[in-house]
Amino acid sequence: MNFKLNSLSLLCIAAFAAPALATSLVPAAAQQGAVLLNDATLHTVSNGVLENTDLLMVDGKIAAIGKDLSAPAGGTVVELQGKHVYPGLIALANQLGLVEIEAVRATDDTREVTDTNPDVRAQVAYDAQSDVIPTVRSNGISYSLVFPAGSLLMGQSSLMQLDAWNWQDATVKSGVALHINWPNASVLSSPWNPKKPEDVAKQNAEALQKLYDTMAQAKAYVDAKKAGAIKALDSRWEAMIPVFSGERAVFAHAEDARQIRQAIALADKYQLKLTIVGGRDSWRVADELAARKVPVIFGSPFGIPERDDEAVDTAYATPAKLAKAGVTFALAIGSYWDSRNLAFGAGQAVAFGLDKEQALAAVTLNAAKIAGVDDQLGSLEVGKAATVVVSEGDILDYRSSKISSMWIDGRAVDLNNKQKDLHQKYQQRYSR
């Protein structure tokens, strides 16, 4: 037996950029000439699957999609017969770049103390040099929405593109949402410290009261400021102004049906633009979510049943149930390194009843919608960012997901990573 790295991917990289060691991966330069992706299967998401179709990228945007396009003078033609082109995948709600080695505290910038951190912004700790990022990128993921962890008001998330020098040029959109870690409502969440249902309910009520009190305090500040009645700025409540105005979404991390209903109630009170993150029980309240047009970032495409009585495929089948109920949803996986399995989570949902196109949308266009960037990202449409991924086959399946190239804003991304380097290094050991 002799297994090799996907040689095609190396070839493709060679076509556009000098192969670099993963430790010195260089972010791609801005797009210079036009690039024509010729004769590919385009998974547009917004307009179905187009066979044997061309896609033209100019100045970082998709300039044209159609049959038999020709490259402008000086442009590059990439032959993609039989290959599949997708919009760059969007991984929502993780901590990529905020943590390097989970068990080593010094490498962890994911959370802050206190439970009133609406002013905290994830992107400022985003390490564009992280060894983890290229391993995620090389699986077709071009964007990540990173959020700070914590309790109650955790802070603001930012959408990052995954080929950058630093957090500033990585940031696509900052202040995407205020993330709220919803107070626990389930006895099942603490098998190590078993509590009686009444005790959990009491703790939930107390924490919820605290959240309501905090919101009231924030709202009072915002109203006072409007009336010109504040003496000094409060950094925390300043950050709540766009939340109350509806400009900034609220992402409530809520798994249990009770938490989801509580989040909807709070959103009603303050007219918040609510999205549920996690949503393990979202299938139980799918109709309510659909009726109120609350989107869901479903975080457990591979989840194990939360309760012993639930069917083994409860989590697998949840995306299909959400789709059937008419809920807008995206899929998310993992906290950082494991977000590279995002596409397979979508594939898993297909195995358990979700339409393939909807599954793809759940990691592209719907994710862009939820992050508020669907005018630029998430589908192959003229005028949108030229962020595309090429796979040898169906990107949702392990058997055929072989990512050969990626462009972010028309920039050809180096798909090497530390793991591929190590592979090559130790191949040397055995070939001597």
Binding site: M1, E310, V312, Y336, D397, Y398, Q419, Y426
Partner: protein
């Protein structure tokens, strides 16, 4: 009729009668008490023993002993008559499992984890090496009667209680005492009662044991030590032993265990079976097991143990379902147990189990009798119930000739009940050795019955109904066609006197109210009726027939709504699946064998074995046909590294070497993750101890047979194996600041720890060999080597009888262990996790080790920073046998996908990739002769997939083990609806149940078991036994650690 001379005024009267047995050494204060001690109980319904009843009988008692029982006894002169006509007399009840008169343990959390570990028990006198062992305690020595506790027992009729402090694993020797009054020594009936045991370390702060398997190992080692101590202590020739055998009172106390017997408390029915088999290893005959309340689930298995049980009647509170939201936290299993807990005693009776009853676990002893009656409603016979309170426990404590019967020569322990105690009777007095403790005035002979009387020329009928003291009545017109009746007003029945009034008008016998006062003697009620005009009429009313007491309460519905399945929870099976002969037609067969992948192929399975593989085969007659057109058939998936189906602790994470503990001791066949694994096509898994110590516990290979016994889970074809671990987990890198004292704290110390342990094992083996070489007379003189289960396991490894699977990550530690193993003389069978295996593949191959890795995990801790998803390919390229494992119940449902990742990341061929979850792990577990591929002659473990098995779109449609279908997705998809239906029926039952049934009586639901991970090393026993866990060592903020 002589009036009773005893004080009837207060409940629980302290009688002025001297106790039957007084301590002669006690100096006299005041005047001697030589009150007569001759008693004659007359007129009672005497239940002399289970199934035997004498009506209107007399019991003679002399000096605290029964001297005669009979129906026509003449009361000898000088006996004080106690008229208990109409009352029921029972032998005093015996509770074998109490804490009466012993000081309770302080409530502390075991381990005191917040304060850090405690590896050694401070030694004091001859105490045991472990702080959970209190075998040297002889509770008679500190027995102290307690009036309040005694009264609580007596009110339920208990006159004898066997007690020890219910704390720890070996709890000491119990004392059997009377609940009567007197000096402690007077009350002790048996100073050398049985030893109490459990799996719960209780208030011990010692780190060991922290798991159920550790508890079991500690019991095993201690029992072996006790045997050894008997042979060894005091012997002068200690040539095979480093020093004279030290004095140990705990071991000495256990020397007589065979004669004395023991009582072992468990917290669920699986632990009951475990306790039984553990004690059988030591041929301990006199054993009673304190049941958990869950035995009805496996009553037949409990019967098979042949053990006597002590059964509590504490029922659990109903799960809260009052609010819709509450139901999110409620499991079908708990709802079922709430409904079925009262059936436990009846189910055990039906299964033929011999048992006593106990008040143990009741939150209020006053609930004992209501609960007995509920048990009777749900199938317990009154005869068995009485036996379980009298003759059975008397037998079990070796006092069958003194206690448990109302018969001549027996102790005069009597329970006086107004009415039949097993229906709705009420205990009014309890006699301990001829001394009364009274709770209600003895009153009122039975007056229930019909009487005819004539008033003002009208024929009337007086009808009295009800129990003693709770009598109701009415007067009816006796004339034909009349339905007139008058309720009795101011009815009072006080001792023999009966008074009431009734409206004459209501029965057409005039105007006004007539008042009666009379006295009951036998069947005659004699007295006077005063009419409205003041005239009086003497009446002698003859009872015509004692009518059956009107059943006032409508019998409660005892219909059970819940299903009983194995396991008794959602997705449990009502009946065991049967092996089938099948013909699978037209599948794409992935053989994981030389034949490779075969399209459009048939497979025939006969008697659990693949017998034929080919195209267009003929269906043998009687074979089930499965049309697998479009489907893929693979061998059952095999997982080298799993922690499912383990009860109460995956790590004995206390000592650095714990090779005495065994996952096989704590298999949990009820873990839902077995079913979930089947749903992902997994049929075989090696259940490994966690990674908290360099030399961990023994592993157990299982087949995922859902709905079987722990024993049936075991894969007999698999040779023994064990878990080692290297790196961060064993050096406690991520355990927190309290864990910096255990050796080793670094990889350098891991090496010496393992090396020294094997050296000790070699010396141990040599000592036994030397001992075996001694002549038998020399052996008698010589202190024998001590059986050491920890070292014995390592000897098995050296003898190539047990195989090592070692958790490991980085190159340095891999090379270290290979070198150490080569030098020591054992083989590492499999490096598991082994994320840097690609760096040392050559050395692993040379050593002969295989590798079982994660498909793509990395970055979660320092030692996995160089992990790569192409590890599999690089190792396979060097000829290492590679598998991918789950280490999680989630991944175990999709190991096919984990294998597929090597196709993606390094272009492994699809057939080779599938072998990483079929034949390769079979080779690693040394079961490849039996399973792992589809080949003629192999055991028929297989999976039918909806699609290409390495595709993300594939679903396991059917999973078979040994020719038996354990999972069928089409059936599975219907189960959820029936589970929800049953749940809702039970929820409705809870909502409609009376408050008492909702509140329960102290019974407990099983504690939910967490999903176990490699590095979970907290105190599982705190969790299992309901102490709040405190500072648990488990860090899953968001990612897994392994």
């Amino acid at each position: 009729m002589k009036p009773l001379r005893l004080s009837l005024l207060s409940a629980a009267v302290v009688c002025a009668v001297a106790p039957a047995w007084a301590d002669p050494t006690q100096p006299l204060q005041g005047i001697r008490d030589n009150s007569a001690q001759l008693l004659a109980f007359t007129g009672a319904v005497v239940h002399t023993e289970p199934g035997k009843m004498l009506s209107n009988a007399t019991v003679l008692v002399q000096s605290g002993k029964i001297t005669a029982v009979g129906t026509n006894l003449k009361i000898p002169a000088g006996f004080r008559q106690i008229d208990v006509a109409g009352y029921h007399l029972y032998p005093g009840f015996i509770d074998l499992y109490g804490q009466y008169g012993v000081e309770k343990a302080a409530a502390t959390s075991h381990g005191g984890r917040g304060d850090g570990p405690m590896y050694q028990n401070p030694r004091k006198g001859g105490n045991a090496v472990n702080a959970a062992i209190h075998a040297e305690q002889r509770w008679a020595d500190s027995f102290m009667p307690n009036a309040d506790e005694a009264k609580a027992y007596q009110q339920q009729g208990f006159t004898t209680v066997q007690s020890a402090r219910q704390d720890g694993i070996f709890r000491g020797q119990a004392v059997v005492a009377s609940t009567g009054k007197g000096l402690p020594g007077e009350l002790i009936l048996k100073a050398d009662g049985q030893h109490f045991l459990s799996f719960d370390p209780g208030s011990s702060k010692q780190s060991y044991p922290s798991s159920l398997m550790g508890s079991i190992a500690l019991v095993r080692q201690t029992l072996a030590d006790a045997q050894w101590y008997q042979q060894a202590y005091g012997k002068a020739d200690w040539r095979l032993f480093r020093e004279p055998v030290p004095f140990n009172s705990a071991l000495a106390a256990l020397g007589q265990l065979h004669q004395i017997g023991l009582v072992f408390e468990v917290n669920n029915e699986r632990n009951l079976l475990r306790a039984d088999s553990l004690l059988k290893e030591f041929n301990l005959p006199k054993v009673a097991l304190v049941a958990s309340g869950y035995e009805y689930v496996r009553a037949a298995d409990v019967k098979k143990t042949g053990r006597n049980l002590i059964v509590p009647l504490a029922y659990p509170a109903a799960p809260s379902v009052g609010k819709l939201d509450d139901q999110l936290d409620v499991s079908l299993a708990d709802l079922r147990h709430w409904e079925r807990a009262p059936t436990n005693a009846g189910a055990l009776e039906k299964a033929g189990v011999n048992f006593a009853l106990t008040t143990h676990k009741l939150d209020d002893k006053a609930k004992f009798w209501p609960n007995v009656r509920t048990a009777i409603k749900y199938g317990l016979s009154t005869e068995k119930a009485l036996a379980a309170l009298t003759t059975v426990p008397a037998e079990l404590i070796g006092m069958p000739g003194q206690l448990g019967r109302i018969a001549s020569g027996y102790q005069a322990d009597l329970v006086v009940s107004k009415g039949d105690l097993f229906k709705d009777g009420e205990i009014v007095a309890t006699w301990n050795r001829g001394v009364e403790t009274q709770f209600k005035p003895l009153q009122n002979a039975d007056v229930a019955g019909d009487y005819t009387l004539n008033v003002a020329g009208k024929a009337l009928k007086l009808s009295l109904t009800g129990a003693l003291g709770k009598v109701e009545g009415k007067v009816l017109s006796a004339e034909k066609g009349s339905d007139k009746e008058a309720k009795l007003e101011n009815l009072s029945v006080d001792k023999q006197q009966v008074q009431f009034g009734f409206s004459l008008k209501d029965v057409d016998a005039g105007d006004g109210v007539a008042l009666f006062s009379g006295s009951m003697a036998g069947n005659l009620l004699q007295g006077t009726l005063q009419l409205p005009d003041g005239s009086q009429q003497a009446l002698t009313l003859s009872r015509q027939a004692a009518v059956a007491k009107a059943d006032e309460k409508k019998a409660e519905d005892s219909t059970l709504l819940s299903t009983l399945s194995l396991p008794n929870q959602a997705y449990g099976l009502s009946s065991a699946p049967q092996r089938q002969n099948v013909h699978i037609k037209n599948a794409t067969v992935w053989t994981s064998d030389k034949a490779g992948k075969l399209e459009n192929t048939d497979v025939i399975v006969r008697d659990g074995v693949f017998t034929q593989i080919g195209k267009n085969l003929k269906t043998p007659s009687g074979f089930v046909e499965i049309d697998a057109t479009g489907m893929h058939l693979t061998a059952g998936i095999i997982d080298e590294h799993s922690h499912i189906a383990i009860e109460s602790g995956v790590n004995e994470g206390s000592d650095a070497v714990t090779s005495e503990v065994h996952i096989g001791d704590v298999l949990n066949p009820d873990d839902i993750n077995i079913y979930r694994g089947l749903a992902g096509g997994t049929t075989t898994a090696q259940l490994l101890h966690g990674s908290a110590n360099p030399i961990g516990g023994k592993a157990q290979v299982i087949q995922l047979r859902w709905g079987v016994s722990p024993e049936a889970l075991k894969f007999k074809a698999a040779p023994p194996s064990i878990k080692f671990a290297l790196g961060e987990n064993v050096k406690q890198s991520n355990w927190g600041d309290n864990y910096t004292s255990r050796y080793p704290q670094s990889r350098v110390g891991v090496e010496t720890t393992v090396r020294d342990a094997f050296q000790a094992a070699k010396e141990y083996k040599a000592a036994w060999a030397a001992y075996d070489d001694l002549s038998s007379s020399e052996q008698k003189r010589t202190v024998p080597p001590r059986v050491d289960y920890r070292l014995q396991t390592l000897v098995e490894i050296l003898d190539n009888k047990r195989f090592v699977h070692t958790h490991s990550y980085v190159a340095s530690e891999i090379l270290m262990l290979i070198k150490l193993a080569d030098e020591t003389g054992f083989k590492v069978t499999t490096f598991t996790h082994i994320l840097e295996g690609y760096k040392t593949a050559k050395e692993m191959k040379e050593h002969g080790a295989s590798a079982s890795t994660f498909a793509d995990w990395w970055a979660y801790k320092m030692e996995v920073k160089d992990a790569i998803p192409t590890n599999t390919c690089l190792m396979a390229d060097q000829g290492v046998v590679v598998s991918v494992n789950s280490d999680s119940p989630d991944l175990q449902r999709r190991l096919n996908q984990e294998a597929a990742k090597s196709v993606k990341y390094c272009g492994m061929s699809e057939e080779e990739a599938l072998k990483m979850v079929t034949i390769n792990p079979a080779i690693q577990l040394k079961v490849d002769h039996k399973v792992g591929s589809i080949a003629e002659g192999k055991q028929a473990d297989f999976v039918l997939w909806s699609e290409h098995p390495l595709s993300v779109y594939a679903r396991a449609m059917q999973t078979w083990i040994d020719g038996t279908k354990y999972y069928d997705r089409n059936i599975d998809m219907t189960l959820n609806a029936s589970i929800e239906r049953e749940k809702q029926q039970l929820v409705q039952k809870v909502l409609k149940a009376p408050d008492s049934a909702k509140a329960g009586s102290g019974g407990e639901m099983k504690k939910p078991e967490p999903i176990w991970h490699c590095e979970d090393n907290g105190d599982y026993l705190d969790l299992a036994f309901g102490r709040v866990a405190g500072a648990q060592q488990h860090a899953h903020q968001h990612n897994q650690q392994h």
